[in-house]
Subunit: 190 residues, 2 copies
DNA sequence: AGTCCGATGACAGTGACTGACATCAGTGGT
DNA sequence: ACCACTGATGTCAGTCACTGTCATCGGACT
């Protein structure tokens, strides 16, 4: 038993999510997470760099999907439209809201987790900017377009999660992007 | 001597900046910072919540200036122009680049400090969105406009710091905002 | 059976951060 | 001058995140 049970990472992530939900992030020790997963504290830190990281296991996959979609968008597409393609691509990965709601509730309850989430978004933004640069987009346009895309993603994701009625996330993302385009439109009304 | 020396906060901030620059953030202990400031570790934590915070003393002032400018912009102004007024206002606060270059070099050298910097930006963004809402801007426009403003600030600040020739920061901010407007412009070229 | 390797356990240690209590400097009242 | 009061500081013990090191175990391969 114990040793050599498969999927140690997943068990740790599951245990952490449960415990953070039950008692809160700060009231949970890493030793407790490891114990619930049938492992030791030392082994926890061999799978996750710190106490936060266990909540962000899938963020790498998301980033990769986004970047790939941006990179593979037709060269004729404007940068902002390549980013839109990236948003469309990642939207496919989000299915049932329940999971994400539970997860976001845990993150919303703790400043340390929110801080780490911002880092993940920043990492995505940097990776997207990089993909845009490889498409020939110059600075500072690449960084600004990537930041705009992440802003749309953040807002769209939040809207999708908190909406009372179930909606298509890709639809929400498109609307959010349109909203951004509207508020940054050149002409000053009035 | 020792006790009751004035400006404990400032001495701690100065000591921290020096030590982080000399040996690096991770190679510096809070006890060492406190000692150089003529204080104890315990007193450090009475002035700053954690080891990072000592680097971000002035961020609150910056946020207040930005928010005030947004709030006081003429009601006839579009949201994005109120944010532009905020950018203009904070630009006044940045004088010599040397200070900021040293500071940003320290931050760039450590992930924990970068993470905290993102939190400060997020706090500014939330405060700006709040000011926009008080101007009657609805969601998600308020959040998107605020995020766009922060993106412009980040990019503009970076450009200003890294430019080879000395330039007016308010000018750089205006150009960055124009660039954002350009990349988010509706029409797809080609 | 013997050998090797990667994942885990055990243990000691550092440093960030906190709670509780004592102590000191300056202030104001008498 | 004396004394109470307040707020900033020092002291000390303790928790917990995180790390380095070495022993140990399970499985694969020969």
């Amino acid at each position: 038993m114990g040793r050599w049970e498969p999927n140690a990472c997943g068990r740790l992530a599951q245990a952490a999510l449960e415990l953070f939900g039950e008692r809160g992030y700060e009231q949970t020790t890493v030793a407790e997470i490891a114990k619930r997963a049938g492992l030791t504290e030392r082994t926890y830190f061999r799978h996750y760099a710190d106490k936060c990281e266990v909540m962000f296991g899938k963020s790498g996959v998301l980033q990769e999907q986004f970047v790939t979609a941006v990179a593979e968008a037709p060269q004729s597409m404007a940068p902002i439209d390549a980013v839109a393609a990236g948003l469309e691509a990642v939207a496919q990965a989000f299915a049932d809201r329940r999971e994400y709601r539970q997860r976001q509730a845990v993150i919303a309850a703790n400043a340390e987790l929110q801080e780490r989430e911002l880092t993940k978004y920043a990492s995505m933004s940097a990776a997207i900017a990089d993909a845009l640069r490889r498409r020939g987009v110059a600075e500072p346009s690449a960084t600004l377009t990537a930041e705009a895309g992440i802003a749309v993603f953040k807002v769209g994701f939040q809207l999708w999660l908190s909406a009372s009625e179930e909606r298509e996330i890709s639809q929400v993302m498109r609307e959010s992007l349109d909203e951004l385009k509207a508020v940054t439109a050149r002409g000053v009304p009035g």
